[in-house]
Amino acid sequence: MRMLATFEKSERLRHIGHLDIMRAMQRALRRSGLPVSYSKGFNPHILLTFASALSVGAAGEREILEATLDEAVAPEDFVAAMNGALPPEMQLSSARIVDDRRPAAMAMVKAADYRIRVTDASAAETLCAALPGFLAQGEIVTDRKTKSGIKPTDIRPLILSAEMDGDTLRARLTATEAVSCKPGMLMNALSAFAGIEVPRVMVTRERLLGENEDGQLLPLEAV
């Protein structure tokens, strides 16, 4: 049985890397007493995947995990058992059973909503003023780090929306397995356009988004 759940990675944990959060979640599954499934083979591990890796330095409000269970468990019982086994910084907010034939959550992610708080007030003002002109550009080429090195990439089509709200930049960015725009890339390009050094920011990923049959973006857990 497959369970999809949303969980928080609190601001306090933002420096914890993806693999460490993954291991912490596996240990929580072990602590929970839930009938978790293990892989077959010589070194069995818990069957757990995350929809999307969250970068070091970013917090997440509704991150998504999928766990496989050997026996049926009600979603509310899953949440209760996990929350008893997780620190306050990593609590689950919801869970639902998903069909075994459904594609992995990882393959369903299309975009993500970010909240990027600029800690320096004057930098925030400068960026706010620069944003309309920045978005009006036909293409925005910035460096993207890949496994094979740094590649110049046009991120304009990947910025689905962006607006400043006080000191906070709210952005909806493409995030698929094939191509994605990270908040860091957006900040680098925007700061360069505004002619300032990249300011210190606090990044929070608010939600991951998937698509319904009509091509409409919805929170992934609701698709």
């Binding site: 420096h15 890397g17 959060i21 912490a24 072990r30 602590r31 210190r200 606090m202």
Partner: protein
């Protein structure tokens, strides 16, 4: 959270390994600061990864936090990048849990695991806004305590620590926290508290003792200067580990730490009596946890931590009375949870082939053997009751059970050592390689790896070798080079050795006295911190610090104590009689072995502490 939170968050963006400082781990304890009467800052004077691997901290953290009116929070030594930023920004050393400054705690406690962490103690106090010198500390500053194995010679730290807790900490810690709590409430002067603490058995308050010494630094007398202080401070012993506190939960770090697993302490103490081994003397007598207690602890700890690995820890796990039964029971209990069980400090003469076969069902990590010396003569001198035949049988068993990696630990610079003994090390390693090839090809795992490690002997207090000076650095370096050359021709063996400079300083401090406080201060002033990390250790700076203090390090490290001389730690009663240590010293000279206490009491001194040692007065000396 601390008012400096924003600044701390900004710093965390800039440092390496920020998770060292962020906390928020599973099972970390958070209490409302104002709701408790006593705030205890437990300080591990090394980095987070090292400190979080330490069993003692887990025990004491749980113990104090179980008290509803007390809180225990953790402190570690920040790495150099973080320390520099904190100094720049004026951020005091803060606790992992609530980020309160070190100076805001009522009591702070350092665990003394190794001498080369002493500079970190001073550096942490400075960074935390706590006055470093005990005599200059303000009335309402934190009470600074310390404990752990190095507290058995507390003298090099006497200037900095208000009170030492000697021996097992499970009981005395709560007596001390309660005394500090009550004192805080009473508003009495600090000097009163020190006297109150001195009355607690096992507590040593250095300010209450006067030390007289001659021009050469030989101790003439150590005398209490007030009636509350006992002439000798007797160590604390927990008599029954089954009723003693042991945590059933502890914080689980997010990042990998040195020992990232459940540590189940199956017994405390060791009956072997190796003459170089300080732990073997300090943790006497041997006390075992029962099978039932261990099974219950293991289950609870697995439930609370979710760890996938468990190690049975003690000085000599192979000596646990019913080890095969224990391993079988734990494997059965935790089979569903798929916990792998590892035995860390295997002794080569005690592990049964049976238990080897059982552990391999779970995982095959490398096996460690510690013959310590290369010849039977020298092994007899150090009372390492292990023969070449034992070693060969055990490694053959291991190889035929599918192990292919073996570590062999040796010491160089042991008393009476000659080059013949060094040749013995090479010879023994060669024979281990031979054992591997003697196992039929289809029965052994491929890819033999034999690692030989040679550390330099450091004479330690409360051991029969406490009177010996350390081998000189020149001699140790020559011996290392000699071995390195010899091992070049031995295929399949990787030879490691430690820098002798670090062992030399360890020797200075392990048997040092109060004068060394000046050296520590000078070393910290000159920037010595995290000395256990080879990339930060600067021997030259340490030599300058000794020069600043006007002291000759050779006179500490190489010092031979006279048989009748008063040791700097003589007023700390470890329970081991001086006459026993001297007898063992003499037997070492004659290369005479002393039996394991389980075969008959050797009269080490613990027999006079009624009912503490289960092997006391069994048989005759």
């Amino acid at each position: 959270m601390s008012p400096c939170n924003d600044k701390i968050e900004a710093m965390l963006e800039k440092v390496q390994k920020a998770p060292r400082y962020t906390g928020g781990e599973m099972n970390a304890v958070h209490k409302d600061w104002d709701s408790v009467a006593l705030h205890y800052g437990f300080c591990f004077p090394d980095t987070y990864e090292v400190g979080m691997s330490h069993l003692g901290m887990k025990i004491l953290y749980g113990l104090v936090n179980r008290e509803p009116d007390q809180v225990c929070e953790r402190f570690f030594m920040p790495w150099t990048d973080m320390k520099a930023l904190m100094e720049e920004e004026g951020i005091p050393l803060f606790s992992v849990e609530s980020r309160h400054a070190l100076s805001e705690f009522d009591m702070i406690g350092f665990t003394l695991q190794y001498e080369m962490s002493y500079t970190n103690i001073l550096a942490m106090m400075r960074l935390g806004g706590v006055t470093v010198l005990s005599r200059e500390r303000g009335e309402r500053e934190p009470v600074v305590v310390a404990g752990g194995p190095c507290a058995f010679n507390p003298e090099p730290l006497a200037d900095f620590i208000d009170a030492f807790m000697i021996g097992d900490g499970e009981e005395v810690t709560l007596l001390v926290t309660a005394a500090v709590r009550d004192w805080k409430k009473s508003g009495a002067p600090r000097s009163e508290l020190l006297k109150t603490l001195a009355r607690i058995e096992g507590v040593y308050v250095p300010a209450l003792y006067d030390v007289a010494c001659d021009d050469a630094g030989r101790i003439l007398s150590v005398t209490p200067n007030c009636p509350e202080a006992p002439a000798r401070v007797k160590k604390c012993v927990v008599t029954d580990l089954n009723t003693a506190y042991y945590p059933r939960s502890f914080p689980v770090p997010y990042t990998e730490v040195v020992f990232d697993r459940i540590m189940l302490e199956i017994m405390r103490g060791c009956t072997r009596g190796c003459r170089f081994c300080q732990a073997g003397m300090l943790y006497r007598p041997v006390r075992e946890r029962s099978l039932e207690t261990l099974r219950s602890l293991a289950k609870d700890l697995e439930r609370a931590t979710g760890y996938e690995e468990m190690s049975l820890s003690s000085l000599s796990s192979g000596d646990y009375t019913c080890l095969p039964e224990l391993i079988r029971a734990l494997m059965k209990d935790l089979e569903k949870e798929r916990v792998s069980i590892s035995l860390p400090s295997l002794r080569i003469d005690s592990v049964l082939k049976e238990s080897l076969e059982e552990t391999q069902k779970m995982r095959k990590t490398s096996l460690t053997f510690a013959p310590e010396a290369g010849t039977q003569r020298l092994r007899d001198v150090i009372n390492k009751g292990v023969t070449e035949q034992d070693l060969m049988e055990k490694v053959t068993d291991a190889f035929s059970c599918g192990w292919n990696a073996v570590k062999l630990y040796f010491m160089i610079g042991l008393p009476t050592e000659t080059y013949e003994d060094l040749d013995g090390i090479v010879d023994l390693a060669r024979k281990v390689v031979g054992c591997y090839f003697a196992v039929p090809k289809d029965k052994r795992a491929r890819g033999l790896r034999v690692t030989v490690s040679a550390s330099s002997f450091v004479p330690k207090p409360v051991t029969p070798f406490q009177w010996y000076g350390q081998d000189t650095q020149e001699s140790l370096k020559a011996k290392q080079q000699y071995l390195k050359e010899k091992f070049r021709s031995v295929k399949g063996v990787n030879f490691n050795y430690h820098t002798p400079e670090l062992s030399y300083l360890e020797a200075c401090f392990s048997r040092g006295d109060r004068r060394l406080g000046r050296v520590l201060l000078a070393a910290v002033d000159r920037g010595c911190i995290l000395d256990g990390w080879s990339d930060l250790f600067s021997f030259e700076t340490w030599m300058q610090a000794f020069a600043d203090a006007g002291l000759d390090p050779d006179s500490f490290a190489y010092r031979e104590f006279g048989r009748d001389e008063i040791m700097p730690w003589e007023h700390i009663d470890s329970g081991i009689d001086r006459s026993f240590l001297l007898r063992e010293y003499d037997r070492a000279q004659e290369a005479r072995v002393t039996r394991d206490c389980r075969l008959g009491c050797n009269g080490c001194g613990l027999q006079k502490w009624k009912g503490v040692c289960g092997y006391a007065n069994a048989g005759h000396v």
